[in-house]
Amino acid sequence: MDPLTNLQNGGWLPVVFLALMGVAMLAYVVLDGYDLGVGILLRRANGADGTNSANSTNADIEKDIMISSIGPFWDANETWLVLGVGILLVAFPMAHGVILGELYLPVALMLLGLMLRGVAFDFRVKARAAHKHLWNNAFYAGSVLASFSQGVMLGLYITGFKNGWAEYGFAIITGLCLCAGYALLGAGWLIMKTEGALQQRAVRWALGSLWFTGAGIAAISIVTPLVSARIFEKWFALPNLFLLMPVPAATAVLFFVIDRALRRLPKRLSEGNEYGAWVPFACTVGIFILAFYGLAYSLFPYLVVDKIDIWQAASAPESLKIILVGAVVVLPAILGYTIYAYRVFWGKARALTYY
């Protein structure tokens, strides 16, 4: 059936919920993305003396600053995942079962990673000092595992859960590239939130992960249309090809803007000039939004590529309505106090000012 007929028969509620879910997932990817990225970069924390052994005090201080830059936010950031998966669960229960059943193993590994990362936040400063480096390692390993698993899930999802070596290979590539993408977000975050040597190193980390991120987005852009003739048609039939051209074009521009900013920042920052320190982070967020848009455009209206569409999977309208009423009231409030929390912790992160 074509989408328009569906819209008339199946109603507009599933579309609204798809949009809500998309916003929640995008918010999660961007917000927890920088948290996970900082976690991925944690092992690169370095003392000013150039050592990075577990016991080096300087490296330890740097790790503390890195983690305290995300400490007040990670909890709320992770809640967007609960909201996204929650909407999938409550609005599209049939798809929730199918998708998470197919992704059972990577989901379990992601949860393992998120658990390790989440508890390490607290344990690393509360457990015995001698155990701190173990929890630092857990923080790093948890962040990497969660990011990689999410990338693998994305890869398997795009290829429609087909089992084959090519699909698995692709999923591993998306897993690695999402790690790079998160590292880019995390490095961008650190450029804004830190100072001095750590900030300079964050610029180098961002440069290191920039082109891996680009490769990942290119790989996804090439593979997605090949998976389904329908998606190919959506992108490459005329006039769509020209109408959609701005999406990849803008993405490419953003990559070059980031690259240029990162090459100019070291000198500027070393002179104490923070001008443009926000550019890499903001442009990375832009890239994620564009990539997300492209993916959403490809998949719509399907929740499982070419198999289950949103109308087939949706819950009863009376239940969706009651959730929507709540969402309309509550989401602005959430937005309000999220902005408030970011304002309270605005500015450079200080070494742990616990309680």
Binding site: T79, L105, A108, L111, D122, Y337
Partner: protein
């Protein structure tokens, strides 16, 4: 192995691990608010010291609750796809409201509560504490509403095998909801009061004479002494409610096979499902009838009335006794502690040891209680509506088993780490920050709390 049993064991392990932490964070938010308000009112530094010590444990507990809770939102779908497909129209909105009204509220203000003391005013910090406490409680409200609905479903109709909501007020305030919510909130309060009393007694034992230790100890035992009689009454009322809606569960809790007038209350027995009778039963005559019907010779229905439709007897029978036994122990220890500390101004060494031993008594009672109620709902997932068997997924046993082992190892390690770190924090609090050289007990911290940089 049977995949359904594996899926249940895995889900049971996850939810058991999860409930340990919300049980603490729900009530501890309010205790922290109490400490904070006492400080605001008296300006006595001991209350702020107590706040600063316990907020660390709160943060740790909260983090564990969050990460184990995320697992749940995935396992609803992976382990029980039939659940959402059948009752998703009811469960969905309740879960959505929990996420939207509670999770974001508590998670956003937690950051300010933990790290914001020198970035916001004292007043705003107090409000942040209030919002976090309110958020955790609101979260309990929604999830208990859903859980209670699974026990006593109301306000819905079945259309083509799917539940559809008819009356949301009836769905939320279903017949067992007020009892279960009260019982759970009191359980949370008791768990926290024994945790605070136990850790404070531990610090006292180690000659930590910071005034905040005694303040917290008194708060803990007083709270326990007040809550435990309320909990016994709430538990009794909840039991009567269960008798009305799930008589088979009550019969299994009491180990009562035949319908009886003047049924005894069994202190010990080994329920035997094969012979459908109890081995080695010792009981107090007529007590069960008295408790459940408020008459010595009242009739109580036995398990044989529900053949094939009642839950497994032994786990319920034992879990129920563990819960009640722990409750009785809590009653005697808390009342005796209040009496002794009022009289002597300090706990005797043996009492301090007993309190330390009971630090996590609340966990034992809470988990045992949840096993009674959840195993007691079997063979149903939603009582009378959906059987557990029909909600299970087709995920291969091997995959469930391997992730199950992974989860179990992780949960065991994290539980051990959690308990160890709490005692470690208690020891560390004795000495002023990082000046490990001094082994003198901390003197009373002087001066007022200042929302300035440390």
């Amino acid at each position: 192995m049977d995949p359904i049993l594996l899926a249940r064991a895995q889900f049971g392990a996850n939810i058991t691990f999860h409930i340990l932490f919300p049980t603490i964070s729900i009530a501890m938010g309010w205790v922290l608010l109490f400490f904070k308000l006492r400080f605001n009112a008296t300006n006595n530094a001991k209350w702020m010291d107590a706040y600063k010590f316990w907020v660390k444990i709160f943060a740790l507990t909260f983090a564990l609750g969050v990460v184990s809770g995320i697992t749940m939102s995935f396992q609803f779908g992976t382990n029980w796809p039939g659940y959402m497909q059948t009752v998703g129209n009811i469960a969905g909105p309740l879960l959505a409201y929990e996420v939207m009204t509670a999770f974001f509220l508590e998670a956003s203000f937690l950051g300010i509560m933990l790290f914001g003391t020198n970035r916001v005013s004292n007043r705003t910090h107090t409000i942040a504490t209030l919002l976090v406490a309110g958020g955790t409680t609101l979260s309990a409200f929604w999830i208990i509403a859903l859980n209670s609905w699974m026990h006593t479903p109301a306000g819905f109709e079945m259309i083509a095998g799917k539940a559809h909501a008819v009356d949301w007020f009836q769905i939320i305030f279903n017949p067992s909801f007020p009892y279960r919510l009260t019982h759970m909130l009191l359980a949370s309060g008791l768990t926290v009061s024994f945790l605070i009393a136990g850790i404070s007694a531990y610090r006292w034992q180690r000659n930590d004479r910071n005034p905040s230790v005694m303040a917290a100890l008194k708060t803990g035992i007083t709270l326990a002494a007040v809550l435990i009689p309320l909990q016994i009454m709430a538990g009794d009322a909840h039991g009567l409610n269960t008798l009305k809606y799930q008589p088979a569960k009550v019969a299994a809790m009491e180990g009562l096979w035949e319908t009886e007038k003047g049924a005894p209350s069994l202190l010990f027995a080994i329920p035997n499902e094969k012979t459908r009778s109890n081995d080695f039963a010792i009981g107090i005559p007529k007590l069960t009838s008295l408790v459940l019907t408020h008459e010595l010779d009242g009739e109580v229905k036995g398990l044989n009335e529900f053949k094939g439709k009642h839950p497994p007897v032994a786990p319920l029978f034992w879990a129920f006794r563990i819960m009640v036994g722990t409750g009785m122990l809590m009653l005697s220890v808390s009342w005796f502690s209040v009496w002794q500390i009022r009289k002597r101004g300090a706990p005797a060494p043996w009492l301090a040891r007993a309190l330390v031993g009971m630090t996590f008594a609340g966990w034992v009672a809470t988990v045992a209680g949840w096993y009674v109620t959840e195993i007691g709902r079997q063979p149903y997932l939603v009582y009378g509506v959906l059987k557990t068997v029909d909600a299970a997924s087709a995920i291969p046993s091997a995959m469930i088993a391997s992730t199950f082992i992974m989860y179990l190892l992780l949960y065991a390690a994290l539980t051990v780490a959690y308990v160890t770190v709490i005692f470690h924090l208690a020891r560390k609090a004795q000495y002023p920050a990082a000046s490990g050289a001094s082994h003198m007990p901390t003197p009373a911290l002087n001066g007022n709390f200042q929302p300035a940089k440390k």
